[in-house]
């Protein structure tokens, strides 16, 4: 009895001249091999970008230096969500109690979890909280940050009445 299996139906792979029944899709495979090699280039670029700091987590481009009068602020430029970071303030002015006002917008994206030396919140208003830090001239204070949301935010600080502005990109 003859079998009723139809040859070369759409679901059946074609039979090649050499007898091999296979759906090879060599044209697609050729294109894919090229895409693969482009992707390897992209992998290399991602690694270079990461080493340079464009993906946050350290690297020369991941931080920025801002100035608020005599105070130098070293802040993150690119950070990652749910990661710890540090904001460093080098006070160039005279010894004493320094007031650091932090923009409220910034706190939508990160929170301040403490500092060295201890920071005291002096007051809070619609513009954001104002911290007080006791420091000598040239001393460096560290604020411990924790990013909580991905996006772009403005770093807006006012140190002893002098403003400093920068942008912070928080990657997901």
């Amino acid at each position: 009895m003859q079998t009723s299996v139809a040859r070369n139906t759409p679901s059946e792979p074609p039979v090649r001249p050499d007898g091999l029944q296979i759906r090879e899709a060599r044209r697609f495979q050729s294109v894919f091999w090229t895409v693969e090699r482009i992707a390897w280039g992209a992998f290399a670029l991602i690694i270079v970008a990461a080493l340079a700091g464009f993906t946050g987590g350290g690297g020369p481009f991941s931080r920025q230096t801002l100035h608020a009068g005599a105070t130098e602020i070293n802040a993150p430029r690119i950070a990652r969500r749910n990661a710890d970071d540090t904001l460093r303030l080098r006070f160039g002015a005279e010894e004493g109690r320094h007031r650091v006002a932090i923009g409220a917008d910034m706190l939508e994206y990160l929170r301040i979890e403490g500092g060295v030396p201890d920071v005291h919140i002096r007051m809070i208003d619609s513009a954001g909280p104002t911290l007080e830090i006791d420091a000598r001239a040239g001393a460096v204070a560290h604020l411990h940050l924790r990013t909580i949301r991905a996006g772009v935010t403005r770093i807006a600080l006012v140190v002893d009445g002098e403003p400093a502005k920068g942008l912070l990109l928080i990657l997901p």
């Binding site: 090649r16 050499d18 007898g19 091999l20 296979i22 759906r23 090879e24 899709a25 060599r26 697609f28 495979q29 050729s30 894919f32 091999w33 895409v35 693969e36 992707a39 390897w40 992998f43 749910n82």
Partner: protein
Amino acid sequence: MDTVIRGLSIYFILLAATRLSGRRTLAQTTPFDLVLILIIAETTQQALLGDDFSITNAVVLIVTLFATDVALSFVKQKAPVAALVFDGAPTVLIADGSIDSVALKRARIDLDEILESARKIHGLERLDQIQHAVMETGGEISIVPKKHPIESPPA
């Protein structure tokens, strides 16, 4: 919501990276593959779970991953192009006894690997005993021996 987005993101990123890296197979693990699997598993675990180690989070994540897998299998069934993109296609490396050196080079396979498969599966000794060799979508090499294998040359 976060868990589902995390799950989907990591699933597709891992899928894309694995496909684009052109890894031949994860079944035949060399020491390099084993190291890679261990590191990727550890890295993705952190990215998938975040700081939330609750059972709820784990359940939502597991369901998301399984559902994605099932959904993709339907997509692949309905759209053959999707199957090609996600799974790839078999590549003929030796056709009717003749070696396709372009395919070997681009698939990064050498003749030693073909001979290894030929020895393991069919106990073949030489390349001229192979009719067809195909790299399957899973990455393994399947061998079709010649009907009447050429005898070993006299010593």
